[in-house]
Amino acid sequence: MGELHSISTAPELAAAALPTQGAPRPVLRITPPSKWLELRLGEVWAYRELLYFFVWRDVKVRYKQTVIGVAWVVLQPLLTTAVFVLFFGKLAKLAPAGIPPLVFYFAAVLPWTFFSGALQAATNIVVSSQQMITKVYFPRLVLPISAVLGGLVDFAIGFVVLIALILAYGIRPGLAALWLPALLLLAILTALGVGLWFAALNALYRDVRYVVPFLVQFWMLASPVAYPSTLIPARWRWLYGLNPMAGVIEGFRWALTGHGQPPGALLLASTAMVFVVLLGGWLFFQRMEGTVADMV
């Protein structure tokens, strides 16, 4: 029956077709999930190009879908700011003196919009990518990371507007502005840390995503977005300071305008907490990763 198969594996032909012949081959061992916790950091780095593509896809799709396109990225935080200025500032008289209300609110709304958007996107992305997850392998961690990073593009555009606004009011940011990248990083890590927990929980129990908007609302009220942190009575200041986003928002405002409190010891405490949450979220997510393809 040999003649029936015209598949010839002439060695020269095979060698020419596979340029990696001779190079050491990666060996993969596929095993059942172990009882112990595994942290596979190197894998995410190996898939960084895919991470870029996911972020690129989300940004492109988001901008293609709205009629106004890029303008919405700026309009949305500006409109929120306008509402805050009107209701919290003028009517509730929560805005402090010494800083234009528009700047006071926009400098807080911008990082907050990034954080809440990133958290919600991270929560939902695993379930909404379920079709892909059951058909192709890549470290699932790439998904929530791409969800959080996707918000940075919108943030960057809004940031340009914020700087323009600040300069227009005659405020000159000083050296304190060097704090900004660190604060932004803290916001990213908080969104990712909490997002990983919720992404995993959402894959297991589908009603979790309905809880997140409420949580975000409450969290916003617990952060100095609508009001300055001086409003908090002194004896509760320590509890308040444990909220990492409190440190981020307050620090953001201070770094750009000099108004408010500089980052203090409490920020260090909340940063430590963020790392604990992030590590826990990472482990929990990888644990869930093994079973998500079976359930999703």
């Binding site: 095993t31 293609k64 093994g290």
Partner: protein, 427 residues
């Protein structure tokens, strides 16, 4: 001697029933924790189901392995485990080399993005680097034949265009090990041929391929070895022809007959249902071995449920390597031409003359349709039979004459000219 590139030992996969259908709500779990805390800590014994059980095999470099079996046998689960999409419950596997898996056409495509953007996205998801996609971009577009529409959003594509582009991207994946799951079962005939051609190229280029398909002809053509999975266990493994022949003749081994009364799935619809297919020998009984010299019948028994006109049943005979011997339909029976068939049980019997088919195994595919209107049923490989050499046309000779058929044709020898022979003798 080529190296082993995939080795699997004791692979098993267990699913808990209910895990796939329903996902619980956190509020229910919390409510349960509050109302009946002891239950929260107990693990309710859940029914389990083993999709795979103790599967062992080895694949050598450059080998093309076919994975066949009924739906639900565990073929896709095994591919998913080898692709790392899901993890095994027991056992382990070792894979040497980069793996690319094609379990679906169009993975990662987003309707809002253009064909160009989706090519990059899908390529990246499947595992290609950006540079690689850029290099192959023109080839991919040419293979898909959509040069004109490459910059239109995919949501405007017809389903045919979508499949062509999706397959074109997948076809240009060049991993050392390729795992393919029935991806070729989409698209029109011309495109399927193109895909098979491309699969053939991949197979010939020395790559290792594991190929899951119900298209037994494609499996036989492309693979050298095959594994038959049945209910999660390896039923048979070996050379592709042997495994495919064994798989196809299930249910018809002893009697040359296959019936569907009382089966869970009866082929057909509300108009017509297939009841049985049998090979009938000269003694008017079902047989699975026939004499090469003698004519025999293939009978299709079916149930007409509504009054039908212009319906026809057809059969197709294929050899073990998938070559089609012939196709024929009962519309050739003039007696029923244009005559409506009232509801009832019918048999359509086809007589296959003796000294026609060549010796060897054949399998039968049956179908029924209302031409140009509606297909009614289509069942591949329902029965198989073996044509025995008992002294037919080539019977005197030690070797089988190549060819699907071995008809008794008329040959005539005539002497023309005596003179040439004499001249040769003289010189």
């Amino acid at each position: 001697m080529s190296d082993v590139v995939i080795r699997a030992e004791g692979i098993g996969k267990r699913y808990r029933i209910g895990e796939r259908e329903r996902y619980s709500a956190l509020r229910d779990k919390l409510a349960q924790a509050l109302l009946a805390p002891w239950k929260f800590f107990q693990h309710a014994p859940r029914e389990t189901f083993w999709a795979l059980r103790d599967v062992n095999f080895e694949v050598r470099e450059g080998e093309v392995l076919g994975l066949i079996g009924r739906n639900g046998a565990g073929k896709t689960t095994l591919l998913k485990i080898l692709s790392r999409i899901t993890r095994p419950t027991t056992g382990w596997a070792e894979v040497h080399g980069h793996v690319g898996s094609l379990l679906e056409v169009g993975t990662g495509f987003h309707p809002e993005l253009t064909g160009r953007e989706n090519t990059f996205l899908s390529g990246a998801i499947l595992g290609m680097k950006k540079r690689e996609i850029e290099r192959k971009f023109d080839e991919i577009v040419a293979f898909a034949e959509i040069e004109k529409f490459i910059d239109t959003p995919v949501k405007h594509y017809s389903s045919g265009m979508f499949v062509r582009l999706a397959f074109a991207v997948a076809a240009h994946l060049e991993p050392e090990i390729l795992l393919v799951d029935e991806v070729l079962a989409v698209g029109d005939i011309a495109f399927q041929k193109k895909c098979l051609g491309k699969m053939g190229d991949v197979a010939r280029s020395g790559r290792t391929v594991v190929f899951v398909s119900h298209n037994l002809g494609a499996v036989t053509r492309l693979c050298q070895a095959a594994i038959w999975l049945d209910e999660g266990k390896t039923k048979l493994e070996g050379r592709v022809e042997d495994v495919v022949a064994a798989y196809v003749s299930t249910g018809a081994v002893e009697t040359g007959e296959r019936r569907w009364d009382g089966a869970d799935r009866v082929p057909g619809n509300d108009k017509m249902q297939l009841r049985a297919v049998r090979v009938i020998g000269p003694n008017n009984e079902a047989a699975n071995r026939v004499d090469i010299r003698q004519s025999f019948w293939i009978e299709i028994e079916y149930c007409v449920l509504k009054k039908l006109t212009h319906v026809r049943t057809a059969l197709r005979l294929q050899t073990s390597d998938g070559t089609i011997a012939f196709t024929s339909a009962d519309s050739l029976d003039d007696a029923w031409d244009g005559v409506p068939r009232p509801p009832g049980v019918y048999t359509s019997r086809c007589e296959i003359p003796g000294n026609f088919l060549n010796e060897g195994p054949y399998w039968v595919t049956v179908s029924a349709d209302i031409p140009f209107v509606e297909p009614l049923f289509y069942e591949e490989g329902v029965v198989s039979f073996f044509v025995e050499q008992t002294g037919g046309v080539s019977g005197r000779y030690p070797e089988r004459w190549p060819g699907v058929i071995c008809p008794a044709l008329k040959w005539q020898i005539q002497q023309r000219d005596f003179s040439i022979a004499e001249t040769r003798d003289n010189s």
